[in-house]
């Protein structure tokens, strides 16, 4: 081996100098690549960051400031009133009732939607004829915009001219005021279930990700369909179901559908939402735009925001041990690797 081929500390000075030049160029190339990579990262991330700051962080901060005032958005004498709005949130019977109704609505619709969606997913995952057609038909209602679906429901369930009472009419049964209390809540639940196709599609994707060999092996071991479903399908589907539970809860707590099936979905008409459908977001909307209580409505929104964070955290905690990942989450994998290598 000639000295010219040596590199590192044992190389001759001339070779070391040449090597410094090469590694310097390499460093510049590396740096330049790294800078380019950084720039690309920030360029792609930039719009989101700007959007987050301008459309989420700033409004959140502004709403927090408003929540400590008696602002109506327009009047000149707005002043700081401390925690008065927050005290009212926790003492106003109307607000507490709407929070209670929202909790009940969430407790009913989230499990119902997920069970119904999973049931449909299992059905259309079977090797049946025209499976694609059934999948499309079952998913179709989820594609209809909420406003369109709400309008359809409004027409179907109108007391005097709706199709639902038309059917009762044919059976010689008295019509029902579906869109008024106490029936309005059932119409709302039906309208929510109308969008089950979304849950079905996500569950179907999860089902198709489960290796068929596991079911075949279970079958050979004598497991029944039910055993196979509860011991293999559900555990392997649990991350998908967990995701749907979390997003379902958040969505249900923010439900705004009742206003869409109200007769006049405007600030003027928000009062026409039946009491049983007066969920927290309807209350927020009414406080903002019908009552012009920007301060109080902002306090309501902040309480709802914190409540959703708390519920989401609680769901994450409670789900520990109930959600099985076939692939370890990145963080857990890193920790495990680190433990195996003894932190070297």
């Amino acid at each position: 081996m000639s000295t010219g081929q040596l590199t590192g500390p044992h190389a001759p000075a001339s070779a070391r100098a040449a090597d410094r030049g090469t590694s310097g160029r390499r460093a510049r190339v590396t740096l330049s690549r790294r800078t380019r990579r950084d720039r690309a990262f920030y360029v792609f991330l930039g719009p989101w960051i700007l959007g987050f700051l301008g459309l989420t962080a700033y409004p959140l901060g502004y709403a927090l400031w408003l929540s400590f005032t008696n602002s109506d958005g327009l009047s000149p004498n707005t002043r700081f009133i401390g925690l008065a709005n927050y005290r009212e949130v926790f003492t106003d019977p109307d607000t507490l009732a709407s929070l209670g109704r929202t909790g009940l609505f969430t407790a009913i619709t989230v499990p119902l939607t997920i069970i119904a969606g999973l049931f449909l997913a299992v059905l259309v995952n079977q090797p049946i004829r025209a499976r694609g057609l059934f999948r499309t038909l079952l998913y179709l209602p989820a594609v209809v915009p909420p406003v369109g679906a709400a309008l359809t429901f409004k027409l179907i369930f109108d007391r005097d001219s709706g199709a639902a009472n038309g059917v009762l009419d044919l059976l010689n049964v008295n019509g029902v005021a579906w869109l008024a209390d106490p029936y309005a809540r059932y119409v709302l639940i039906m309208l929510t279930l109308w969008g089950t196709g979304n849950v079905m599609v996500i569950s179907l994707a999860g089902l198709q990700d489960i290796p068929r060999e596991l079911h075949d092996a279970a079958l050979m071991d004598g497991a029944s369909w039910w055993q196979s479903f509860t011991r293999i399908t559900l555990p392997l589907l649990s991350p998908v179901l967990f995701f749907q539970v979390v997003t379902g809860i958040i969505g249900a707590l923010q439900t705004f559908l009742p206003l869409l099936i109200a007769l006049d979905p405007t600030p003027k008409g928000v009062g026409s939402v039946p009491e049983s459908n007066n969920l927290i977001m309807i209350n927020v909307f009414a406080q903002f735009f019908a009552n012009s209580r920007y301060g109080y409505a902002s306090a309501l929104l902040w309480v709802l925001f914190l409540f959703i964070m708390l519920v989401t955290y609680a769901v994450f905690r409670l789900s520990k041990g109930a959600v099985f990942y076939s692939v370890e989450p990145e963080q857990a994998k890193d920790k495990a690797t680190s433990r195996k290598t003894g932190g070297k």
Partner: protein, 446 residues
């Protein structure tokens, strides 16, 4: 050698720059608002109007641009958007509004332009020629109906008058209504009951559509000789005998289930389509409703106009709308907005509205030109002329939006009607909630 990232974009700098950009973007509307109006080359040419989505078709928009020499920027009316624009001091140049309901609220908060100086200089819009109905657009700092003018009604109606279908009356064997003598509210309810057609718990034809809003309670109370909103506009009193009588009438009406109510609202959202479809015998609507009736010859043939009924001995026939336009105080192009006023309220559009039968003209000089070609137009004109002496402005409070007070009615009344709560208790609940709302507003307005 330590690697220097100077010159490249590090995380901290990037986040700081993003925050700066976002805050700058958020501050932009405020900067725009601080620019003096009318000085920009573009602001003088653009007229921004917030109106109904179907206020003008493409031809109508071109007509405005050509006549006024402006670029028309049309924003669909949305009260939430309007509030945001007003609070950021970047409002439209013209806003469509209901004078009777909205003028005191916005005027008390200093958001409207005082139009008196413009009227003083105008050759076509002279205060002496303005119909009294335009008083709904006046506010003197304490009360509606007097003081500077803040807007103008494009047309107006006495909104408690009645339109009815003669075919339904004849089918029920009832006499047609008098064209001069008002019915009592009890007589009206009785007629409504007799006109209502039902099947299996469903109303197939509503006998009558009446009330349910704060303004209708104000009217009934006034007709009974009382007043619902106190002189200082800072409180309501549903406990007075007159107001309780009005409440009781409405509860009886809703319980009778003869027409749309707070318990069973009209699925059509308003009376027009229901009346046209022969599913409503009587509607409480003003002269403007004639515009709908006249569009269908068959409907016009079976429709008649009648005076407003009365709950007590006082004959009061109020205006609840006075729909028109106003110019926000911070509008950019007030000169063009006023040009629009002169053209829209006294020019070709006013004449076209007059011919359509959509309410009474805002200028008294135009009233004799109301169409009287068809039998219905003649009948409506005659009835209207006799009703005019009873016109009145029932001032609404500047301390709360009328929608907020209506929302309280919608919250309290349905349960009370269903549960049979005593009128006194209903009145107490309404007083308590509405007065709380008004007190909050008074504190803000000062």
């Amino acid at each position: 050698m330590p690697v220097s990232y100077r010159g490249s974009l590090d995380r901290r700098r990037f986040l700081a720059a993003s925050a700066g950009a976002a805050l700058s973007a958020a501050a932009l509307p405020g900067c725009a608002a601080s620019v003096d109006s009318g000085s920009g080359s573009d602001s003088g040419k653009t007229l921004t109007v917030m109106a109904k989505v179907d206020e003008w078709d493409a031809k109508g928009k071109k007509e405005i641009e050509k006549t006024l020499g402006v670029n028309l920027r049309l924003i669909t009316y949305d009260v939430t958007k309007l509030n945001a624009m007003l609070s950021s001091k970047n409002p439209p140049d013209l806003v469509r509004g209901l004078g009777a309901m909205e003028a005191p609220y916005f005027a008390a908060r200093g958001l409207m332009t005082d139009l008196d100086p413009y009227f003083a200089k105008s050759e076509v819009l002279k205060p002496s020629d303005l119909a009294d109905a335009n008083d709904v657009w006046r506010y003197d700092g304490e009360k509606q109906g007097a003081g500077p003018r803040y807007g103008l009604a494009q047309d107006y109606s006495q909104d408690c008058m009645l339109w009815y279908r003669t075919d339904v009356f004849e089918e029920a064997g009832l006499d047609l209504l008098s064209e001069t003598e008002p019915l009592s509210m009890d007589e009206l309810l009785d007629i409504g009951k007799r006109l209502t057609k039902r099947r299996l718990g469903k109303v197939k034809v509503y006998g009558l559509s009446a009330g349910g809003s704060l303004t209708s309670f104000m009217w009934m109370t006034a007709s009974a000789g009382g007043r619902l909103i106190a002189e200082d506009q800072a409180s309501v009193d549903f406990s007075s005998p007159e107001a309780r009588k009005a409440l009781q009438w409405y509860i009886d009406y809703a319980k009778a289930d003869v027409g749309p109510s707070l318990v069973n609202p009209n699925p059509d959202g308003w009376d027009g389509p229901t009346y046209q479809a022969n599913r409503m015998a009587i509607t409480t609507s003003g002269h403007w409703f004639g515009g709908i009736v006249s569009t269908d010859d068959k409907l016009a043939e079976v429709s008649r106009f009648a005076p407003a009924p009365q709950l007590g001995s006082h004959r009061v026939s109020p205006i609840f709308g006075g729909t028109g336009f106003w110019i926000p105080k911070d509008a950019n192009n007030k000169e063009a907005a006023w040009k629009f006023f002169e053209w829209y309220f006294a020019g070709a559009p006013a004449k076209r509205r007059l011919d359509g039968g959509w309410g009474l003209p805002t200028l008294n000089s135009m009233r004799p030109k109301l169409p009287q070609k068809t039998a219905l137009q003649k009948q409506a004109y005659a009835v209207q002329e006799k009703e005019l002496p009873y016109i009145s402005v029932l001032p609404v409070s500047p301390y709360a939006q009328i929608d907020a007070l209506n929302a309280i009615l919608t919250k309290v009344l349905p349960d009370a009607i269903k549960s049979g709560t005593a009128v006194g208790k209903v009145a107490d609940a309404l007083n308590s909630r509405m007065n709380e709302q008004l007190a909050r507003g008074k504190e803000l307005v000062g």
